[in-house]
């Protein structure tokens, strides 16, 4: 029955009747929380920032700001795609429907399926260096800390991550959304405490605290603060000036920042299930604020680190750790021979191991509120490919009891176990894991190309969409913003692949292992699609027909 009107008084724009699915808009804040976790300031953020020492004359704040601006174009592109085609599977759906089924499958599945195997051990390593190891040292459990630095310890951490992710998928998104919110608020309180400690302490306070805890927890003697800087210099680190601005160096920082700031669109693969996603404002603002709140917070944290810890010390501590780990000639660990976790260091400003442990646990919620979504997007991509009959139907199977997508989970978990074992026990494959960001960026690039040509390739869909009215100098706005995003991604892809100094550890010339691995993943994707095409054609199914539009007249 007609029982509602919408529009601005005094003239209604629309008469609605009672019908299934007419719901009120979702909260932008709820979606923001998901996006905010995806560009996680603490887990991915601090981990990614710890490589900034490789570009010592790059001005980090300017680079973060520039990255925020450029990634905003990515956000607009994805929000527009969601508005035109809100589909489960996101990148896969858009690429396959615009670029073609085969190309879309190969380009998206390599990123959202095969590359996500690599992220499981990366997550595990973050869990180790930000949670298990600092917590164990703080509590004096040296044996536990040492275990997690061993190969088996790393593998056990991978198993913990995979188990946690599986539990989250089993619990379902509604339960996990509640967990995320709890982690969000408590994690923010923890961050506020850290900012407060860094704000009200001086550099001398920090040096004293650092020297005290380095001696107490790690048995260091003398001036450990200066010892850290000295250790870094042995590996070739020549110091870093926070105030210097060199534009070229700022550009070189961008691929490092991508490690955490490139993912505000992480939830885009889920928008097929989100009612009301066609309204571009909701997806846009949720991703936009997820990105920019993080940009603001990371800027604040960096300024406080510079003020209280000292920029040169922060960079030196990272240089000493990574250069030693990567066996740079002459490199040696500093007096604190673990990953320099700023949260742990800030906690040292309070002379209480109990307080320090609680702070690490509280900040660990930034991990547990975030890590559960590791495979969530991938399961949706696998679902979409299975519905298209490219993957077997069982890949989209769910259990009738707890509605666990066990098919997709098996396809994610089993290869991740193998890759985790390789990560833990075969250090020569490290470069493969460094490429994890680059391959996802390549997947995004393919989506961006699809967005650029969308107004012409799927004209009917585009014309019927809410974004058709947005133009820039007569050119569809989605084409313009996608082109800008594409140039940004191309720049980073070039740096990852061809940087002459192998700055990111991923240059083709210097890392044949990763080249072989990734070429192999694309070959496997092509083979899967080819086999699917052949098998389905024998069953009377034409895969090319999936996306062909039926004539209207």
């Amino acid at each position: 029955m007609a029982d509602a009107t919408m529009g601005t008084a005094p003239r209604p724009a629309l008469f609605l009747r009672n019908a299934t699915g007419l719901v009120k808009a979702w909260s932008t804040f709820d979606a923001f929380v998901y996006s905010f976790w995806s560009v996680n300031l603490i887990t991915l953020g601090l981990y990614g920032m710890s490589f900034a020492y490789t570009v010592p004359d790059g001005q980090i704040l300017v680079a973060i700001l520039l990255f925020g601006v450029l990634t905003t174009f990515l956000v607009i592109t994805y929000a527009m795609l969601v508005s035109v085609m809100p589909r489960t599977g996101g990148d896969y759906a858009w690429q396959s429907r615009v670029l073609g089924g085969g190309l879309g499958f190969v380009l998206s599945i390599t990123g959202w399926w095969f590359t996500l195997f690599l992220w499981a051990p990366i997550y595990a390593n973050i869990l180790n260096v930000q949670f298990f190891i600092p917590l164990a040292y703080t509590l004096g459990w040296i044996g536990v800390a040492t275990f997690f630095t061993s190969q088996t310890g790393i593998f056990v951490s991978c198993l913990i991550v995979l188990a946690f992710v599986s539990v989250v998928v089993t619990l379902g998104m509604e339960t996990y959304a509640r967990i995320q919110k709890v982690c969000f608020w408590i994690g923010l309180v923890g961050l506020a405490v850290i900012c407060g400690l860094l704000l009200f302490a001086s550099n001398q306070d920090f040096q004293n605290a650092f020297n005290r805890e380095a001696a107490s927890l790690f048995g260091a003697s003398g001036n450990a603060y200066q010892g850290t800087i000295d250790a870094a210099s042995k590996g070739g680190y020549a110091g870093s000036n926070f105030g210097g601005i060199a534009f070229g160096s700022i550009g070189l920082l961008l691929p490092w920042l991508a490690f955490y700031l490139l993912w505000p669109n992480w939830g885009a693969t889920l928008y097929g299930e989100v009612r009301g996603a066609k309204d571009i404002r909701k997806p846009f603002w949720s991703m936009f604020w997820g990105l920019w709140v993080t940009v603001g917070l990371v800027g604040l944290v960096m300024i406080l680190i510079v003020k209280t810890m000292g920029w040169n010390f922060y960079q030196a501590s990272n240089a000493a750790y990574w250069n030693t780990l990567y066996a740079v000639q002459g490199a040696t660990y500093g007096p604190v021979p673990i990953w320099p976790y700023p949260v742990m260091f800030a906690g040292w400003l309070v002379d209480s191991h109990l307080f320090q442990a609680v702070l690490i646990i509280v900040m660990g919620l930034w991990f547990f509120g975030w890590a559960g979504t590791l495979f969530l997007s991938s399961t949706r991509v696998i679902f979409a490919a299975a519905f298209d009959r490219v993957l077997p139907a069982w890949a989209a199977s769910i259990s009738s009891g707890r509605r666990v997508p066990y098919g997709a989970l098996v396809l994610m978990i089993v290869p991740s176990l193998v890759v985790s074992a390789i990560y833990a026990y075969q250090p020569t494959f490290t470069s493969v894991f460094l490429d994890a960001t680059a391959v996802l960026a390549l997947t995004f690039f393919a989506t961006v190309v699809a967005a650029m040509i969308l107004p012409w390739r799927r004209k009917d869909l585009y014309d019927a969409s809410p974004i058709a009215r947005y133009n820039v100098a007569g050119i569809p706005a989605i084409t313009v913003v996608a082109a800008i995003t594409g140039l940004f991604l191309l720049f980073m892809l070039y740096q990852w692949s061809f940087n002459p100094d192998n700055l990111y550890g991923t240059s083709f010339e210097k890392t044949p292992n990763s080249v072989i691995y990734f070429v192999a993943t694309y070959v496997v994707a092509v083979v899967i699609y080819g086999v699917a095409r052949y098998v389905r054609s024998r069953q009377g199914i034409d895969l090319s027909r999936i996306h062909h539009e039926i004539p209207v007249e």
């Binding site: 007609a2 029982d3 003239r11 609605l16 009120k24 709820d30 429907r97 989100v274 019927a464 209207v552």
Partner: protein, 311 residues
């Protein structure tokens, strides 16, 4: 053996209905089945004043001359809304009087269904294609009579029909929803409704259950979680199973060859429940995209192949 094309939840999108009729030739289908919820959810007033027409669509207000109003109306229909020309006085009258608004809704919906039935007759006559429609829970009861009057489209609701040796039972009724729509039953009554038809099926291995509501906890029934105020929870990402336990029980008990569902647009999928292949092709009617399923039946295998498509 018949090749079926199944689509559902067109919600008044005329573009989707036209595609549905053309899908027979496009996919080489012998049987077309429209699963329910044919009628639109909204009327968009196209207000006549001073020789022009003004309309608000997608938050954008526009005024067009008389010669362009047909294009605007076509765009409105594409999205599944009903464009309705009216004066400013009529607009205010409908705004203020729920009774007149309800009557107006019924008129435009039935007129729309009638127009669709005529299109079907024109398009499919002499094609050899059978076309079934089974109104869903969003369709008012009067829709059935309009379909029944059609000289070509067959009404599926509440009966068993034979499709080249396969038996199909249909109902557009659903379990209760928060919107209190037109065809809702308690799970118990819905079960009785289905069972009354299922009891007539001679051979479950050659049966098609065309039930608008998907089975509970099947993965075809995952709808965004909402609160009591119909507000989406957790950014729209939290999903809950909202399918029918009665539909699930019927499938579990009878194990038909195929079950066809809709109702939950976001929950596209194809799964096996025991021996039954259950399909919800989803719906993207607002984009003018026809999501559907092609099912090739086979005398020996039962289902030779199936494919979800986005036409």
């Amino acid at each position: 053996m018949p090749k079926i094309f199944f689509a559902t939840d067109l919600h008044g999108s005329e573009v989707c209905w036209k595609k549905f009729l053309n899908s027979a030739r496009f996919y080489g289908a012998d049987v077309l089945i429209c699963g329910g919820d044919m009628t639109g959810k909204a009327i968009v007033p196209v207000v006549s004043e001073n020789g022009h027409f003004s309309v608000a669509l997608g938050g954008q207000q526009q005024t067009v001359p008389a010669e362009q109003v047909a294009d605007v109306e076509a765009n409105i229909r594409r999205k599944g809304y009903y464009p309705l020309r009216m004066t400013v006085e009529r607009l205010h009258e409908l705004d203020q009087d729920p009774q007149k608004r309800a009557q107006c809704f019924q008129e435009v919906m039935l007129e729309g269904v009638e127009r669709w039935m005529n299109m079907a007759s024109e398009k499919l006559r002499d094609s050899g294609v059978r076309c079934f429609v089974c109104p869903g829970n969003d369709d008012e009861m009067e829709v059935d009579e309009v379909v029944r009057r059609s000289d070509f489209v067959e009404l599926g609701e509440g009966r068993m029909v034979d499709i080249d040796g396969f038996s199909m039972i249909s109902t557009g009724w659903s379990n209760p929803t928060p919107w209190n729509t037109h065809r809702e039953d308690s799970e118990e009554k819905l079960g009785e409704r289905i069972e009354a038809m299922a009891a007539q099926v001679p051979d479950a291995s050659r049966a098609i259950f065309n039930l608008h509501c998907p089975p509970y906890k099947s993965g075809l029934d995952e709808a965004p979680a909402i609160d009591a105020d119909l507000k989406l929870l957790h950014g729209g990402r939290a999903l809950r199973p909202v399918g029918s336990t009665a539909v699930r029980a019927a499938i579990d008990k009878h194990q038909p060859l195929l079950s066809l569902h809709g109702h939950i647009h976001e929950s596209k999928g194809a799964i096996k429940i025991g021996k039954t292949l259950s399909i919800n092709p989803g719906s993207a009617y607002e984009e003018g995209m026809l999501m559907g399923a092609i099912i090739q039946l086979d005398a020996k295998k039962g289902i030779k192949s199936y494919q979800l498509v986005n036409g």
